[in-house]
Amino acid sequence: MNKIVVVDYGMGNLRSVAQALRAVAPEADVVISGEVADIESADRIVLPGQGAMPDCMRSLRESGVQDALLAASRSKPLMGVCIGEQMLFERSEEGHAAGLGLLPGEVVRFQLDGMLQEDGSRFKVPQMGWNQVQQSAAHPMWQDIPDNSYFYFVHSYFARPSVAEHTVGVTVYGAPFSCAVARDNIFATQFHPEKSAAAGLQLYKNFVHWSP
Protein backbone atom coordinates (compact mmCIF):
# COMPACT_ATOMS: atom_id res chain seq x y z
CA MET A 1 0.00 0.00 0.00
CA ASN A 2 1.23 3.45 -0.97
CA LYS A 3 0.44 5.71 1.98
CA ILE A 4 0.55 9.39 1.14
CA VAL A 5 0.21 11.85 3.99
CA VAL A 6 -0.84 15.43 3.31
CA VAL A 7 0.58 17.22 6.34
CA ASP A 8 -2.11 19.04 8.30
CA TYR A 9 -0.70 21.77 10.52
CA GLY A 10 -3.73 24.04 10.24
CA MET A 11 -2.73 25.96 7.09
CA GLY A 12 -3.64 25.46 3.49
CA ASN A 13 -6.06 23.91 1.08
CA LEU A 14 -5.47 20.33 2.17
CA ARG A 15 -8.69 19.01 0.79
CA SER A 16 -7.86 20.05 -2.79
CA VAL A 17 -4.42 18.48 -2.58
CA ALA A 18 -5.85 15.24 -1.20
CA GLN A 19 -8.60 15.13 -3.81
CA ALA A 20 -6.12 15.62 -6.64
CA LEU A 21 -3.95 12.79 -5.26
CA ARG A 22 -6.99 10.52 -4.93
CA ALA A 23 -8.05 11.36 -8.49
CA VAL A 24 -4.71 10.22 -9.94
CA ALA A 25 -4.02 7.39 -7.48
CA PRO A 26 -7.30 5.74 -6.47
CA GLU A 27 -5.31 2.75 -5.18
CA ALA A 28 -3.23 4.85 -2.79
CA ASP A 29 -4.09 5.55 0.84
CA VAL A 30 -4.28 9.35 0.92
CA VAL A 31 -4.48 10.71 4.46
CA ILE A 32 -4.77 14.29 5.68
CA SER A 33 -3.06 14.19 9.04
CA GLY A 34 -1.23 16.19 11.67
CA GLU A 35 -0.23 13.08 13.63
CA VAL A 36 3.42 12.15 14.10
CA ALA A 37 2.55 8.45 13.75
CA ASP A 38 1.07 9.02 10.29
CA ILE A 39 4.12 10.93 9.10
CA GLU A 40 6.36 8.15 10.44
CA SER A 41 4.37 5.44 8.67
CA ALA A 42 3.91 7.39 5.41
CA ASP A 43 5.53 6.27 2.16
CA ARG A 44 5.28 9.75 0.68
CA ILE A 45 4.62 13.18 2.11
CA VAL A 46 3.04 16.31 0.67
CA LEU A 47 3.64 19.58 2.51
CA PRO A 48 1.13 22.22 1.40
CA GLY A 49 0.81 25.73 2.75
CA GLN A 50 -1.13 28.91 2.25
CA GLY A 51 -1.10 32.39 3.68
CA ALA A 52 1.99 33.92 5.21
CA MET A 53 5.18 31.92 5.73
CA PRO A 54 5.79 33.13 9.32
CA ASP A 55 2.30 31.90 10.27
CA CYS A 56 2.87 28.59 8.48
CA MET A 57 6.20 28.03 10.23
CA ARG A 58 4.71 28.87 13.62
CA SER A 59 1.78 26.50 13.01
CA LEU A 60 4.14 23.76 11.89
CA ARG A 61 6.27 24.16 15.02
CA GLU A 62 3.28 24.30 17.34
CA SER A 63 1.59 21.32 15.68
CA GLY A 64 4.41 19.11 16.96
CA VAL A 65 5.08 17.46 13.60
CA GLN A 66 8.13 19.47 12.57
CA ASP A 67 10.68 16.96 13.87
CA ALA A 68 8.85 14.01 12.29
CA LEU A 69 8.70 15.92 9.02
CA LEU A 70 12.43 16.71 9.12
CA ALA A 71 13.21 13.06 9.84
CA ALA A 72 11.00 11.92 6.95
CA SER A 73 12.59 14.47 4.61
CA ARG A 74 15.88 12.56 4.81
CA SER A 75 14.55 9.55 2.95
CA LYS A 76 10.90 9.67 1.86
CA PRO A 77 9.66 11.34 -1.32
CA LEU A 78 8.57 14.79 -0.16
CA MET A 79 6.63 17.27 -2.25
CA GLY A 80 6.25 20.89 -1.14
CA VAL A 81 3.57 23.13 -2.61
CA CYS A 82 3.38 26.94 -2.49
CA ILE A 83 4.30 28.03 1.07
CA GLY A 84 5.19 24.38 1.56
CA GLU A 85 7.93 24.96 -1.01
CA GLN A 86 9.04 28.25 0.52
CA MET A 87 9.32 26.68 3.99
CA LEU A 88 11.96 24.23 2.73
CA PHE A 89 14.44 27.10 2.44
CA GLU A 90 16.55 28.71 5.15
CA ARG A 91 14.67 31.95 5.61
CA SER A 92 12.11 34.36 4.16
CA GLU A 93 11.97 38.11 3.79
CA GLU A 94 8.36 37.79 4.85
CA GLY A 95 8.40 38.58 8.56
CA HIS A 96 12.10 37.54 8.63
CA ALA A 97 10.90 34.00 9.24
CA ALA A 98 13.30 31.08 9.53
CA GLY A 99 12.46 28.10 7.34
CA LEU A 100 13.21 24.40 7.66
CA GLY A 101 16.61 24.77 6.02
CA LEU A 102 16.32 21.67 3.82
CA LEU A 103 17.41 23.70 0.81
CA PRO A 104 19.96 26.53 0.94
CA GLY A 105 18.56 29.87 -0.09
CA GLU A 106 15.97 32.45 0.82
CA VAL A 107 12.46 33.54 -0.05
CA VAL A 108 12.05 37.05 -1.45
CA ARG A 109 9.20 39.30 -2.57
CA PHE A 110 8.47 40.38 -6.14
CA GLN A 111 9.91 43.85 -6.75
CA LEU A 112 7.79 45.03 -9.65
CA ASP A 113 6.61 48.45 -8.47
CA GLY A 114 6.30 50.85 -11.35
CA MET A 115 7.14 48.19 -13.94
CA LEU A 116 4.78 47.66 -16.86
CA GLN A 117 3.95 44.50 -18.75
CA GLU A 118 4.39 44.35 -22.52
CA ASP A 119 0.83 45.53 -23.09
CA GLY A 120 1.29 48.61 -20.92
CA SER A 121 -0.63 47.31 -17.91
CA ARG A 122 0.89 47.21 -14.43
CA PHE A 123 2.53 44.12 -13.02
CA LYS A 124 0.18 42.99 -10.26
CA VAL A 125 1.33 41.43 -7.01
CA PRO A 126 0.28 38.79 -6.06
CA GLN A 127 1.01 37.09 -9.34
CA MET A 128 -2.35 35.42 -9.76
CA GLY A 129 -3.15 33.09 -12.62
CA TRP A 130 -1.67 30.67 -15.12
CA ASN A 131 1.93 31.04 -16.17
CA GLN A 132 4.31 28.85 -18.16
CA VAL A 133 6.86 26.63 -16.49
CA GLN A 134 10.07 26.07 -18.38
CA GLN A 135 11.64 22.75 -17.37
CA SER A 136 15.14 24.10 -16.86
CA ALA A 137 16.51 20.71 -15.80
CA ALA A 138 15.39 17.18 -16.56
CA HIS A 139 13.62 15.45 -13.68
CA PRO A 140 11.46 12.31 -13.39
CA MET A 141 8.65 14.49 -12.02
CA TRP A 142 8.35 16.21 -15.41
CA GLN A 143 7.48 12.97 -17.18
CA ASP A 144 4.60 13.34 -19.67
CA ILE A 145 4.29 17.07 -18.97
CA PRO A 146 5.09 19.19 -22.05
CA ASP A 147 7.77 21.82 -21.53
CA ASN A 148 6.31 25.32 -21.02
CA SER A 149 2.99 23.99 -19.77
CA TYR A 150 0.82 26.41 -17.85
CA PHE A 151 0.39 26.03 -14.10
CA TYR A 152 -1.65 28.06 -11.61
CA PHE A 153 0.21 30.53 -9.39
CA VAL A 154 -0.94 32.70 -6.50
CA HIS A 155 1.95 34.31 -4.64
CA SER A 156 3.81 37.48 -3.73
CA TYR A 157 7.04 35.77 -2.65
CA PHE A 158 9.26 33.19 -4.34
CA ALA A 159 12.27 31.09 -3.42
CA ARG A 160 15.77 32.00 -4.54
CA PRO A 161 17.91 28.86 -4.13
CA SER A 162 21.62 29.49 -3.48
CA VAL A 163 22.51 26.27 -5.31
CA ALA A 164 21.64 26.75 -8.98
CA GLU A 165 21.32 22.99 -9.56
CA HIS A 166 18.35 22.86 -7.22
CA THR A 167 16.19 24.78 -9.71
CA VAL A 168 14.37 22.48 -12.13
CA GLY A 169 11.62 24.86 -13.27
CA VAL A 170 11.65 28.55 -14.17
CA THR A 171 8.81 31.01 -14.75
CA VAL A 172 9.02 34.58 -16.00
CA TYR A 173 7.10 37.31 -14.21
CA GLY A 174 8.91 40.59 -14.62
CA ALA A 175 12.08 38.51 -14.45
CA PRO A 176 12.76 34.76 -14.43
CA PHE A 177 12.35 33.11 -11.03
CA SER A 178 12.73 29.59 -9.72
CA CYS A 179 9.28 27.99 -9.52
CA ALA A 180 10.21 24.33 -9.07
CA VAL A 181 13.10 22.95 -7.02
CA ALA A 182 14.46 19.50 -6.37
CA ARG A 183 17.17 17.76 -4.38
CA ASP A 184 17.47 14.00 -3.85
CA ASN A 185 14.05 12.85 -2.57
CA ILE A 186 12.60 16.38 -2.38
CA PHE A 187 10.58 18.11 -5.11
CA ALA A 188 8.65 21.33 -4.59
CA THR A 189 6.72 23.89 -6.58
CA GLN A 190 5.66 27.47 -6.04
CA PHE A 191 2.60 26.86 -8.21
CA HIS A 192 -0.45 24.82 -7.24
CA PRO A 193 -0.60 21.52 -9.15
CA GLU A 194 -3.96 20.73 -7.50
CA LYS A 195 -5.41 23.77 -9.29
CA SER A 196 -3.58 23.32 -12.58
CA ALA A 197 -5.98 21.01 -14.42
CA ALA A 198 -4.39 18.20 -16.48
CA ALA A 199 -0.75 19.31 -16.13
CA GLY A 200 -1.09 19.53 -12.37
CA LEU A 201 -2.77 16.15 -12.05
CA GLN A 202 0.05 14.62 -14.11
CA LEU A 203 2.60 16.08 -11.69
CA TYR A 204 0.83 14.45 -8.73
CA LYS A 205 0.62 11.21 -10.68
CA ASN A 206 4.37 11.37 -11.24
CA PHE A 207 4.91 11.99 -7.54
CA VAL A 208 2.86 8.93 -6.60
CA HIS A 209 5.13 6.76 -8.79
CA TRP A 210 8.42 8.57 -8.18
CA SER A 211 11.31 6.45 -6.84
CA PRO A 212 14.12 8.87 -6.03
Partner: protein, 253 residues
Protein backbone atom coordinates in the same frame (compact mmCIF):
# COMPACT_ATOMS: atom_id res chain seq x y z
CA UNK B 1 4.15 34.94 -19.69
CA UNK B 2 1.27 35.24 -17.24
CA UNK B 3 -1.91 34.48 -19.16
CA UNK B 4 -5.01 36.60 -18.92
CA UNK B 5 -7.88 34.63 -17.46
CA UNK B 6 -11.40 33.82 -18.56
CA UNK B 7 -13.70 33.15 -15.65
CA UNK B 8 -17.20 31.84 -16.26
CA UNK B 9 -19.47 33.00 -13.46
CA UNK B 10 -22.19 30.81 -12.05
CA UNK B 11 -24.88 32.67 -10.13
CA UNK B 12 -26.35 30.14 -7.74
CA UNK B 13 -29.67 30.22 -5.93
CA UNK B 14 -31.36 27.31 -4.19
CA UNK B 15 -28.76 24.94 -5.58
CA UNK B 16 -29.25 25.90 -9.25
CA UNK B 17 -27.35 28.17 -11.62
CA UNK B 18 -29.39 31.16 -12.76
CA UNK B 19 -28.79 34.27 -14.84
CA UNK B 20 -30.46 37.63 -14.33
CA UNK B 21 -30.74 40.85 -16.30
CA UNK B 22 -29.73 43.96 -14.34
CA UNK B 23 -29.76 41.90 -11.15
CA UNK B 24 -33.41 40.82 -11.56
CA UNK B 25 -35.53 38.51 -13.74
CA UNK B 26 -33.77 35.25 -12.91
CA UNK B 27 -33.73 32.41 -15.43
CA UNK B 28 -32.66 28.84 -14.72
CA UNK B 29 -29.42 27.81 -16.44
CA UNK B 30 -28.67 24.36 -15.00
CA UNK B 31 -26.90 22.10 -12.52
CA UNK B 32 -23.74 23.66 -11.00
CA UNK B 33 -21.52 20.56 -11.05
CA UNK B 34 -22.44 19.71 -14.62
CA UNK B 35 -21.79 23.26 -15.79
CA UNK B 36 -18.51 23.49 -13.83
CA UNK B 37 -17.24 20.28 -15.40
CA UNK B 38 -18.15 21.49 -18.87
CA UNK B 39 -16.30 24.78 -18.41
CA UNK B 40 -13.24 22.97 -17.06
CA UNK B 41 -13.20 20.78 -20.17
CA UNK B 42 -13.46 23.89 -22.34
CA UNK B 43 -10.38 25.37 -20.68
CA UNK B 44 -11.85 27.83 -18.20
CA UNK B 45 -9.07 29.34 -16.08
CA UNK B 46 -11.15 29.65 -12.92
CA UNK B 47 -14.78 29.48 -11.88
CA UNK B 48 -16.70 31.93 -9.74
CA UNK B 49 -19.82 30.96 -7.84
CA UNK B 50 -22.00 33.74 -6.51
CA UNK B 51 -24.65 32.74 -4.01
CA UNK B 52 -27.00 35.52 -5.05
CA UNK B 53 -29.74 34.89 -2.55
CA UNK B 54 -27.48 33.83 0.27
CA UNK B 55 -29.13 33.70 3.64
CA UNK B 56 -28.27 31.69 6.71
CA UNK B 57 -31.08 29.31 5.68
CA UNK B 58 -29.48 28.09 2.47
CA UNK B 59 -25.82 28.52 3.43
CA UNK B 60 -25.43 24.77 3.49
CA UNK B 61 -26.47 24.49 -0.15
CA UNK B 62 -23.54 26.41 -1.56
CA UNK B 63 -21.11 24.56 0.73
CA UNK B 64 -22.47 21.31 -0.63
CA UNK B 65 -22.13 22.55 -4.22
CA UNK B 66 -18.54 23.69 -3.67
CA UNK B 67 -17.63 20.35 -2.09
CA UNK B 68 -19.11 18.51 -5.06
CA UNK B 69 -17.43 20.73 -7.66
CA UNK B 70 -14.05 20.76 -5.89
CA UNK B 71 -13.91 16.97 -5.87
CA UNK B 72 -14.17 16.84 -9.68
CA UNK B 73 -12.82 20.07 -11.07
CA UNK B 74 -9.14 20.94 -10.52
CA UNK B 75 -9.04 24.64 -11.28
CA UNK B 76 -9.42 27.56 -8.85
CA UNK B 77 -12.87 28.22 -7.42
CA UNK B 78 -14.05 31.54 -6.02
CA UNK B 79 -17.19 31.76 -3.94
CA UNK B 80 -19.11 34.85 -2.92
CA UNK B 81 -22.42 35.83 -1.42
CA UNK B 82 -23.45 36.08 2.19
CA UNK B 83 -19.93 36.13 3.65
CA UNK B 84 -20.38 38.03 6.91
CA UNK B 85 -17.61 36.88 9.24
CA UNK B 86 -14.15 35.34 9.18
CA UNK B 87 -15.68 31.99 10.14
CA UNK B 88 -17.67 32.05 6.86
CA UNK B 89 -14.39 32.38 4.97
CA UNK B 90 -12.99 29.38 6.84
CA UNK B 91 -16.09 27.29 6.07
CA UNK B 92 -15.95 28.07 2.35
CA UNK B 93 -12.21 27.37 2.13
CA UNK B 94 -12.73 24.08 3.95
CA UNK B 95 -15.47 23.16 1.49
CA UNK B 96 -12.96 23.54 -1.35
CA UNK B 97 -13.08 27.22 -2.33
CA UNK B 98 -9.72 28.78 -3.17
CA UNK B 99 -10.89 32.35 -2.87
CA UNK B 100 -13.77 33.97 -1.08
CA UNK B 101 -15.45 37.11 -2.32
CA UNK B 102 -17.02 39.77 -0.11
CA UNK B 103 -19.19 42.65 -1.19
CA UNK B 104 -21.87 44.18 1.05
CA UNK B 105 -20.17 42.92 4.20
CA UNK B 106 -16.90 44.63 3.22
CA UNK B 107 -18.75 47.94 2.99
CA UNK B 108 -20.61 47.38 6.25
CA UNK B 109 -17.46 46.21 8.03
CA UNK B 110 -14.14 46.90 6.26
CA UNK B 111 -12.33 45.36 9.23
CA UNK B 112 -13.65 42.00 8.00
CA UNK B 113 -11.41 42.27 4.91
CA UNK B 114 -8.39 42.99 7.09
CA UNK B 115 -9.18 40.21 9.55
CA UNK B 116 -9.89 37.64 6.83
CA UNK B 117 -6.75 38.55 4.87
CA UNK B 118 -4.56 38.34 7.95
CA UNK B 119 -6.08 35.07 9.05
CA UNK B 120 -6.14 33.27 5.69
CA UNK B 121 -3.83 35.29 3.44
CA UNK B 122 -4.56 37.97 0.86
CA UNK B 123 -4.40 35.40 -1.92
CA UNK B 124 -7.83 34.07 -0.98
CA UNK B 125 -9.64 37.35 -0.30
CA UNK B 126 -11.52 38.91 -3.21
CA UNK B 127 -13.52 42.09 -2.77
CA UNK B 128 -16.41 42.41 -5.20
CA UNK B 129 -17.35 45.95 -6.13
CA UNK B 130 -20.67 46.72 -7.84
CA UNK B 131 -20.37 50.19 -9.34
CA UNK B 132 -22.68 52.55 -11.16
CA UNK B 133 -21.62 55.63 -13.09
CA UNK B 134 -22.79 58.82 -11.39
CA UNK B 135 -20.87 61.46 -13.40
CA UNK B 136 -18.27 61.46 -16.20
CA UNK B 137 -15.26 59.55 -14.89
CA UNK B 138 -16.96 58.86 -11.58
CA UNK B 139 -18.54 55.67 -10.26
CA UNK B 140 -20.31 54.92 -6.99
CA UNK B 141 -20.27 51.65 -5.05
CA UNK B 142 -23.63 49.93 -4.54
CA UNK B 143 -24.43 46.98 -2.28
CA UNK B 144 -27.19 44.50 -1.58
CA UNK B 145 -27.36 43.25 -5.13
CA UNK B 146 -27.34 46.80 -6.46
CA UNK B 147 -30.19 48.14 -4.40
CA UNK B 148 -28.32 50.28 -1.91
CA UNK B 149 -26.15 53.32 -2.68
CA UNK B 150 -23.14 53.75 -0.40
CA UNK B 151 -21.77 57.16 -1.33
CA UNK B 152 -18.35 55.53 -1.83
CA UNK B 153 -16.24 56.31 -4.88
CA UNK B 154 -15.43 53.02 -6.63
CA UNK B 155 -11.77 53.78 -7.37
CA UNK B 156 -11.06 55.07 -3.86
CA UNK B 157 -12.85 52.07 -2.42
CA UNK B 158 -10.73 49.67 -4.48
CA UNK B 159 -7.57 51.36 -3.18
CA UNK B 160 -8.79 51.06 0.39
CA UNK B 161 -9.58 47.37 -0.06
CA UNK B 162 -6.08 46.76 -1.40
CA UNK B 163 -4.61 48.51 1.65
CA UNK B 164 -6.72 46.36 3.98
CA UNK B 165 -5.38 43.18 2.40
CA UNK B 166 -7.66 42.22 -0.49
CA UNK B 167 -5.81 40.07 -3.02
CA UNK B 168 -8.06 40.76 -5.99
CA UNK B 169 -10.95 43.00 -7.07
CA UNK B 170 -14.00 41.65 -8.89
CA UNK B 171 -15.38 44.76 -10.55
CA UNK B 172 -18.93 44.76 -11.90
CA UNK B 173 -20.55 47.59 -13.80
CA UNK B 174 -24.17 47.59 -12.78
CA UNK B 175 -25.02 49.82 -15.71
CA UNK B 176 -23.80 47.12 -18.06
CA UNK B 177 -24.66 43.92 -16.23
CA UNK B 178 -26.93 41.76 -18.34
CA UNK B 179 -27.12 44.34 -21.16
CA UNK B 180 -24.63 42.65 -23.53
CA UNK B 181 -23.24 46.07 -24.43
CA UNK B 182 -19.66 45.39 -23.26
CA UNK B 183 -17.70 46.16 -20.10
CA UNK B 184 -17.60 49.69 -18.75
CA UNK B 185 -14.03 50.20 -19.96
CA UNK B 186 -13.57 53.56 -18.25
CA UNK B 187 -14.42 52.04 -14.90
CA UNK B 188 -12.24 48.98 -15.52
CA UNK B 189 -9.24 51.02 -16.64
CA UNK B 190 -9.66 53.50 -13.82
CA UNK B 191 -9.59 50.82 -11.14
CA UNK B 192 -6.90 48.67 -12.79
CA UNK B 193 -4.52 51.63 -13.12
CA UNK B 194 -5.14 52.69 -9.52
CA UNK B 195 -4.23 49.47 -7.72
CA UNK B 196 -1.49 46.84 -7.72
CA UNK B 197 -3.65 43.75 -7.21
CA UNK B 198 -5.42 41.93 -10.07
CA UNK B 199 -8.74 43.19 -11.38
CA UNK B 200 -11.48 41.00 -12.85
CA UNK B 201 -13.79 42.88 -15.23
CA UNK B 202 -17.44 41.91 -15.06
CA UNK B 203 -20.82 43.00 -16.32
CA UNK B 204 -22.00 43.49 -19.88
CA UNK B 205 -20.28 40.89 -22.04
CA UNK B 206 -22.28 40.34 -25.22
CA UNK B 207 -19.61 38.90 -27.51
CA UNK B 208 -15.99 37.87 -27.82
CA UNK B 209 -14.72 41.33 -28.75
CA UNK B 210 -16.04 42.59 -25.42
CA UNK B 211 -13.80 40.10 -23.60
CA UNK B 212 -10.76 41.18 -25.61
CA UNK B 213 -11.56 44.87 -25.03
CA UNK B 214 -11.74 44.29 -21.28
CA UNK B 215 -8.12 43.13 -21.35
CA UNK B 216 -6.68 45.39 -24.05
CA UNK B 217 -8.54 48.61 -23.32
CA UNK B 218 -9.73 48.07 -19.77
CA UNK B 219 -6.35 46.61 -18.69
CA UNK B 220 -8.12 43.96 -16.67
CA UNK B 221 -6.17 40.88 -15.57
CA UNK B 222 -9.16 38.62 -16.04
CA UNK B 223 -12.61 38.78 -17.57
CA UNK B 224 -15.75 37.27 -16.13
CA UNK B 225 -18.85 36.36 -18.08
CA UNK B 226 -21.93 34.25 -17.60
CA UNK B 227 -24.65 34.29 -20.22
CA UNK B 228 -22.52 34.04 -23.37
CA UNK B 229 -21.22 30.73 -22.00
CA UNK B 230 -24.32 29.40 -20.23
CA UNK B 231 -26.57 29.57 -23.25
CA UNK B 232 -24.05 28.09 -25.66
CA UNK B 233 -23.43 31.29 -27.63
CA UNK B 234 -19.69 30.64 -27.32
CA UNK B 235 -17.47 28.08 -25.66
CA UNK B 236 -14.65 29.20 -23.39
CA UNK B 237 -12.23 27.67 -25.90
CA UNK B 238 -13.61 29.82 -28.72
CA UNK B 239 -13.23 32.89 -26.54
CA UNK B 240 -9.63 32.02 -25.71
CA UNK B 241 -8.69 31.41 -29.32
CA UNK B 242 -10.31 34.69 -30.36
CA UNK B 243 -8.37 36.59 -27.70
CA UNK B 244 -5.09 34.82 -28.51
CA UNK B 245 -5.49 35.87 -32.14
CA UNK B 246 -5.62 39.45 -30.91
CA UNK B 247 -2.25 39.00 -29.24
CA UNK B 248 -3.54 38.47 -25.70
CA UNK B 249 -1.53 35.84 -23.77
CA UNK B 250 -3.93 32.95 -23.11
CA UNK B 251 -3.56 29.41 -21.80
CA UNK B 252 -4.72 27.31 -24.74
CA UNK B 253 -5.40 23.63 -24.13
Amino acid sequence: MLAKRIIPCLDVTDGRVVKGVNFTELRDAGDPVEIARRYDEQGADELTFLDITATSDNRGLILHIIEAVASQVFIPLTVGGGVREVADVRRLLNAGADKVSMNSSAVANPQLVYDAAHKHGSQCIVVAIDAKQVAPGKWEVFTHGGRKATGLDAIEWAKKMEQLGAGEILLTSMDRDGTKSGFDLGLTRGVSDAISIPVIASGGVGGLQDLADGIKLGKADAVLAASIFHYGQHTVQEAKQFMAQQGIPMRLA
